[in-house]
């Protein structure tokens, strides 16, 4: 992982667009394949929105650190927050609803991350949640 790009945002949903813009520019600078950028952008939006909405017990300001780096076949996002320990990947698998009547409204964000990212990893480190989300081109994309 080289040429790591980094942004620090605060726990305010209005920051998501600033993050998305940063991500597009950083991905271009890091020469991450263009087709993977929407995947990384969606993963970052879903993960950070969840953190802002659910991670912090108090109403005070918190920093969320998002890093992006190129990997051999794509890009990796590393997202850190100092909220309560929370592993989004430990949530039960989302079951796609069979009918509109059955369709539930919650839980979609983490489901999208799981489906879109080629690798997801969570760890608690130094009092912080660390979520690594990777997107890579599969051979048939090449």
């Amino acid at each position: 992982m080289s040429g790591r790009e980094k942004i620090v945002i605060c726990n305010d949903l209005a920051e998501l667009r600033r993050m998305s813009q940063w991500l597009s520019l950083s991905a271009a600078r890091a020469a991450i394949p263009e087709r993977l950028v929407p995947v990384l952008e969606l993963c970052a939006n879903e993960a950070v929105a969840n953190i802002i909405n659910y991670a912090f017990a108090d109403r005070g300001p918190h920093e969320i650190i998002v890093e992006l780096a190129r990997t051999e076949r794509g890009g990796i996002l590393v997202i850190r927050d100092d909220g309560r320990p929370f592993d989004p990947l430990a949530l039960p698998e989302f079951q796609p609803p069979a009918t509109l009547e059955e369709a539930r409204i919650g839980g979609l964000g983490v489901h999208l991350i799981r489906r879109m990212a080629s690798r997801c990893e969570y760890r608690r480190e130094g009092g912080m949640n660390v979520l690594c989300l990777e997107a890579e081109s599969v051979p048939e994309d090449a």
């Binding site: 969606l42 929105a49 964000g109």
Partner: protein, 123 residues
């Protein structure tokens, strides 16, 4: 290299047009992310209320997050409850992928032409 992050995306646009045979076409333009969904949620729900055949023109939607899927799903559920139908018109490949990954394409049909969408919501 200094990067300017000042460039703002314009607000989400929403327009509605009554087509023939009681179909309402709602056109969305912009990013359907947290901010975009917040901008259109009320108006979208209001427009779709009491309708039985709704086409959502997605051609100019450049990004779709789960919060935007929620907006579509809530109205689609309400319409289905009334015995009606919603269809999505020609979302771009990135948006289509979000819909497919969420399994929404199985619940709210994605149509590639207006004719197909009209036939879908009136049958």
């Amino acid at each position: 290299m200094t990067v300017s992050l000042n460039a703002n995306w314009p607000g989400m646009q929403i327009d509605a047009e009554h087509l023939q045979s009681g179909i309402l076409k709602i056109t969305l333009i912009g990013r359907l992310d947290v901010q975009g969904a917040d901008e259109i949620d009320l108006r979208f729900a209001g427009l779709a209320a009491r309708q039985k055949a709704v086409i959502v023109d997605m051609r100019e939607v450049s990004f779709l997050a789960s919060i935007g899927i929620r907006t579509l799903l809530l109205s689609a559920k309400a319409i289905a409850k009334r015995g009606g139908k919603m269809a999505l018109l020609d979302p771009d490949p990135t948006v289509t992928r979000s819909l497919e990954m969420a399994g929404i394409d199985a619940l709210i049909p994605i149509c590639r032409s207006l004719e197909q969408a009209q036939a879908t919501v009136t049958t």
